[in-house]
């Protein structure tokens, strides 16, 4: 009796569901209560008699009942899943952030759904569509190139948390790392070491965080009374090869420089290789500072001086903010301040 083995879907390949499936209804029956009661206990939606609760908990354990998230989603209007728009799931930087999100969401019963925007506004817009069609309960956007307006619009129908910019709107929470201060710190470090001709390999200035790092660079220069030389600023795209190319340009343009600040570690790695290729030693001939502090940066040769960006922590905080938004609270999270990690790629300018 009670054969739950539906005949349909049988041909649907190895996707055997059937048999083993324990439903809430079965639990209710086993515990001698109504499905409603089981549901209420499951969700803590109402106070129920302690004895019944006991019986239900027993039945759940005994039968090994696991609620079906799809049924839950359909009936309850939520999926317990959070969309995460990331730029590249295989980026060394974002990887840590994703882990942070995962670690924070998991205990709350939510699952992340990752989609990659590939640093492309159109692709990101498509990501949002995919996530909406999957009916996620909220969306976390890690930096990216979506316009502020697009995010605000999205936030009208769904809670949104975005990192890498400062934005206020209903249903929207933004969480900004102080990239400007980070850029200032890195540059100041080099200035403190006696450098005055400091090249800057920038990220795409269209990107808020890249622009901010550049601003930090100019700020530090300014406060040290060093005049800004546009010839020392070379554009890059946050990849190793950008750093390599930038060094070539810098050297070929015969710009004298004794130090380089690269707007991220990956470009710093490329720059280090470029310098080596030109027989310039780091840090003996040129000091080098990066930004991000990737897990691998401490193992670079030489270990890279950089600005630590707490990617994992930022992921956790973003997820935390999302959970608060979902709970109807106004998120309060404190983003760690940037700090400089001086390692071996930077040294005092020799007189």
């Amino acid at each position: 009796m009670k054969s739950k083995d539906s005949t349909r879907g049988g041909a649907k390949a190895a996707t055997t569901r059937g048999n083993g499936t324990v439903t809430l209804e079965m639990v209710a029956q086993a515990a001698g209560v109504s499905p409603s009661t089981v549901s209420r206990i499951l969700n803590g939606t109402a106070v129920v008699n302690e004895l019944k609760k006991q019986a239900v908990d027993d039945a759940i354990a005994r039968l090994g009942f696991v609620p079906n998230p799809m049924a839950r989603g359909l009936a309850g209007g939520r999926t317990l899943s959070i969309g995460v728009v990331t730029q590249a799931i295989d980026s060394p930087f974002y990887g840590a952030a994703l882990r942070g999100i995962e670690d924070e969401l998991d205990p709350a019963g939510y699952s992340p759904l990752y989609v990659s925007g590939h640093w492309n506004a159109a692709a990101e817009a498509r990501c949002i569509e995919v996530l909406r069609s999957r009916r996620v309960d909220g969306i976390v956007v890690l930096t990216g190139r979506l316009t502020d307006q697009a995010l605000k619009t999205c936030a009208k129908s769904l809670p949104v948390v975005v990192t890498g910019r400062s934005l206020k709107a209903p249903g929207l929470f933004s969480l900004n790392f102080d990239n400007c201060e980070g850029g200032r710190l890195a540059t100041q470090h080099l200035i403190d070491l006696g450098h005055r001709r400091i090249a800057f390999i920038s990220g795409d200035p269209e990107h808020p965080d890249a622009a901010e790092r550049l601003r930090g660079y100019t700020l530090a220069l300014e406060s040290a009374g060093i005049s800004f030389d546009p010839a020392l600023v070379v554009p890059g795209e946050y990849h190793e090869v950008s750093g390599l190319l930038a060094v070539d340009r810098l050297i070929e343009a015969r710009q004298g420089f004794t130090a380089i600040f690269a707007a991220n570690d990956q470009m710093a790695f490329g720059a280090a290789l470029g310098l080596t290729r030109r027989s310039l030693r780091v840090p003996d001939d040129v000091s080098l500072v990066g930004f991000d502090d990737l897990p691998t940066s401490m193992y670079a040769i030489p270990p890279l001086s950089t600005v630590h960006q707490p990617a994992y922590e930022l992921g956790r905080l973003a997820a935390q903010a999302m959970l608060q938004l979902l709970a109807g609270d106004k998120p309060i999270v404190e983003v760690p301040l940037p700090r400089l990690i001086a390692r071996e790629s930077s040294r005092r300018l020799r007189g």
Copy 2:
């Protein structure tokens, strides 16, 4: 008329769903057909009259209908999502594989659901549970420490694709990169360069792929008539710090060696730093070869010689195999052969 604004779920925070939702039923009505027909067109489940199809397609476009995956899942017994058990979502190696999976699954309408096992059998078992409770249609396991038995059991109720081992079972497909051959290639490369005292920094030998790489190492040695010296094999754990420590051990044990083969690139990076710290130059004093060919390895200083492992491609293939399994077909995929990428960290032993 037709107010779809359900009163329930209203207090559920910003999770506004309501209003905008276009349902299949609305499409059917707009097109003047039954919901069944719309469904059939959507799924290509049966041949329908061309005119009706036209009308339905129109209605879908006009209303901007997007099927609700949860309803679909509940009714159809599948979720169109594939669980992916990865070891660390932020690993440089697995990141590329995940992207491959994503790229392959996406056009087929499936979404990946990532969970991290952290190189821990118990955690991986939990991952499987999470995925089952989410009712994924299939599970892709990237390497990992689950026992063969556990995988086979899992495959009884769900199609499973696993990388990093060779295993045959109903509902299970395995996809193995030839780690042994890769290990042999790396070692042979060093032998060809004249090295005979070749140290090996291994991964955890409990792990099939690590064990295979070691086997490749011994094979190459053997065929070159070099006797295997256990003192030259140091255990590592696939992380940079393992490589660093291994070099320390090797040097302190006063094992003469002119080359090192590290079982993965991350350990090779650590080893390179360790050597540098001891004032040993790569490749002038010690040749170094890694395994994996991470995206960053070509930018290491010096650029790392290594065995290329097509992580992205492997991800795609695994996903492809899963799609075939889901379609009820026997997967046929061809795994690329390992190939050696000789860069600048290895050189001929000087007479």
